[in-house]
Symmetry: C2
Subunit: 125 residues, 2 copies
């Protein structure tokens, strides 16, 4: 755990946001002005593999990093592309297939809601 790595992790965890690598880079740069974007990418990869953060593939071009590694769903804003955790009770949602479908062995699923976030709704009025 290097100094850079620690700052990156801290910054993501305290942000409570689902930042893209370059957004996190901008924030970390305020504390470590000489850090490079490559270092941020490399450490995000290492932290992901270590299970300390999670890399999320979502709508949009960039991957986002999540301080919350538990298995949960997300909602993203179609206007500003912000991503939020969704506190959805999966049992409540109904059963989602496990086991086998169409010859596939199911290992998981990803449920992503899309919508307009509170901030963007406000801007509309």
């Amino acid at each position: 755990m290097t100094h850079q790595r620690e700052i990156i992790l801290q910054e993501l965890q305290t942000s409570r946001e689902h930042l893209a690598a370059d957004e996190l880079y901008e924030r970390v740069k305020k504390r470590l002005p000489r850090i490079s974007l490559a270092t941020v990418y490399r450490n995000l990869e290492i932290l992901t593999n270590a299970g300390l953060i999670a890399k999320r593939e979502v709508s949009g071009r960039q991957k986002r990093f999540d301080y919350d590694v538990t298995d949960h769903d997300h909602i993203f804003c179609i206007r500003c592309h912000r991503l939020d955790n969704l506190d959805l009770n999966r049992e409540e949602v109904g059963y989602l297939p496990v086991g086998e479908i169409d010859g596939y062995t199911i290992t998981g699923y990803r449920l992503e809601f899309a919508g307009v976030c509170p901030d963007c709704r406000q801007k509309n009025e």
Copy 2:
């Protein structure tokens, strides 16, 4: 509807697969050797806007194009990254929130299963 555009559409529709732009390009090139990848991208965009095909954002880096424009779910193979349609009865799955969640106005959702496809399962034995 230009000649190139027609061939691209045909090739995607007859493939019955969820091809990425470059995969489709390779197939189309067999019939139109002088076509460029840019033309494929441009026409896929046009065909998508025309509602004749659908562009799917899924796990992995590339976007995939779907001959089936109806609203449905997908399953993708974590080994070979193949993407298939999933014939899942959405009512049966239970219900998936609509309206409002956490201040967001929900406009839709995307459900993507992950698993190991029949072909890849076989390779394992």
